[in-house]
Amino acid sequence: MFPTPIAKTSRTWQISYQILVPLVMLIWLLPLLAVANFSVKPEADFVNGNYWGIPSSFDAISNYGKVFFESNMPRYLFNSLLITIPTVIGAVALSCMAGFALGVYKFKGNLLIFFIFIAGNFVPFQILMVPVRDLTVSMNLYDTKTGLVLFHIAFQTGFCTLFMRNFIRALPFPLIEAARVEGIAEWRIFLYVVLPLMKPALAALAVLIFTFIWNDYFWAVVLTQGPDAQPVTAGITEFNSQFRAAYHLMSAGSIVAALPPVIMFFLMQKHFIAGLTLGAVK
């Protein structure tokens, strides 16, 4: 292990390390702590210039209450869920199949198709913006969650396929050969042999895609409008268009918006990180 394990270093360094780590962490998370602080402040604090100090009164309930009961936030959150979950399911399903095909079979064009998926995943997605918007409009899916979901599925498929294919590649190929020798149909091999083995990859990918989609802002802006279909990232600025910059409400809203992926991260940390490092690309 590098650097030298702390247990093998001098006592003073051990102690200073133990102190340093939480300290550095606090500095690292300072912006977040500030938001958390903002979100429990009364509006008056901002008027009085008490931006960063201790809240003059603890208004969490009223602030979050406003976010939940007096704004469109719940609708936005719900939209986010309805966009994110089908996307995760769709993208993972498609890419499982594609990854299986690309990872297991040798056929002409295998590598080419695979590379197209990768390349597509890396293109600056702005180049898709205008045509995709037109396509969505012409399919009557503009400003619908479905339109957003379909696009997200398609675009994420590139990344997911890269991920799944590499994962399947790493499975021991003799498993598939063993199944073939046993006379098992190919689709059954996929269903009963490969799929169960991909569980960790599925989990990792699902968590990862969940966060990506949940945090998407660009496409939400391009393909949707208003609280009918827009996800929470796009909705969060709604607080801003009222008469003054409502820092406290926006902070509360931000925290609410950030919560699902954060919870996801903490619950599924292992998978999440596996996903990042395995798939390696956003």
Partner: protein, 308 residues
């Protein structure tokens, strides 16, 4: 049994050849419809003038001429600004890699609670860029911002980072570095996990210590992690949109524009809807990215060939 043998269906006989295509089909359709074809369409649109509503008018390479300043025109000013900003993003965003490495080295210990600390350090990556943008724009507020409060303690400042055209881009990049560093940190932490302990031991016997160990033994082994960190950071840098949109909306007076933002502005913003011109910007951006895509694919290709 025998009859089943001779009457094997066409599918059964060609099972291994046909199956992959059946499995690929849905993903390929989706991908073609939403990604491949639109790329082509963007190319097509970039040769037109089009407001997104009426008919397209073929203008040939006029959009590119205006953008890149071919012939007697000057290069589009906004494009220049955007392009240089993109370069700044590309270069400075790479700081996330050493920063991530540094934090990863700092945290690569086994003490109680280190798992918790690691996840807290990773935290910013999970948060939406919109939220990050908001948080940092408050952090930078010219009068009330925490940054100026801190600078004030040292008797410096105040600065209005996002209001100063020479600083605003750096301010946004710094905000972007926050989650990106977290990302690189995770990559390096997993990379460090995979460092061969025997090599470290061999190096210890060889008398390599501290930064020498890092430079000669650890870093070379972290090459895969570095490669990945490099790729994701470049892609992240070229895709920078959310932050700019939230933090400065391209301003002040367009000084924080990057190509992706410029193209969005031209195509879909309030005063935009010059789809052809926007598409031309996208195409240029695409070609810049193509360099990196090619690099990545080449690396993958080599790996594939090496593996078999």
């Amino acid at each position: 049994m025998a009859s089943a043998d001779t009457n094997r269906s066409w599918y059964k006989r060609n099972e291994i050849a046909v199956t992959p295509w059946l499995f690929l089909l849905p993903a390929m359709i989706f991908f073609a419809v939403y990604v491949i074809i639109p790329i082509g369409q963007s190319f097509w649109i970039s040769f037109h003038e089009w407001d997104g509503l009426g008919e397209k008018t073929w203008v040939g390479t006029a959009n590119y001429e205006r953008l890149l300043g071919w012939g007697d025109q000057n290069m589009d000013r906004k494009f220049q600004v955007s392009f240089w900003n993109n370069l700044k993003w590309l270069v400075l965003y790479l700081l996330a890699i050493p920063a991530g490495l540094f934090i990863a080295l700092f945290l690569n210990q086994t003490v109680t609670g280190i798992r918790f600390y690691k996840s807290m350090f990773f935290f910013p990556f999970v948060i939406s860029q919109v939220v990050v943008g908001l948080v940092f724009s408050w952090f930078y507020l010219p009068r009330e911002g925490l940054l100026n409060a801190i600078l004030g303690v040292f008797g410096a400042g105040p600065v209005n980072i996002l209001g100063d055209p020479t600083l605003a881009t750096y301010g946004i990049i710094a905000a972007g570095l926050w989650p990106q560093t977290a990302y690189c940190m995770i990559l390096y932490l997993t990379g460090l996990n995979a460092v061969d302990p025997e090599q470290v031991e061999a190096a210890r016997l060889d008398g390599a210590k501290g930064h020498k160990m890092l430079w000669y033994v650890i870093l070379p082994q972290l090459k895969p992690a570095t490669f990945i960190a490099f790729v994701v950071t470049i892609i992240g840098a070229l895709r920078s949109f959310d932050l700019i949109s939230v933090m400065t909306n391209g301003g002040p007076f367009g000084s924080t524009r990057v190509l992706s933002f410029y193209m969005f502005e031209e195509s879909l913003s309030e005063f935009g809807f010059r789809m052809g011109f926007g598409a031309a910007i996208a195409v240029v951006l695409f070609f810049i990215m193509l360099g990196f895509i090619t690099y990545f694919l080449y690396a993958m290709y080599r790996e594939e060939k090496g593996a078999h």
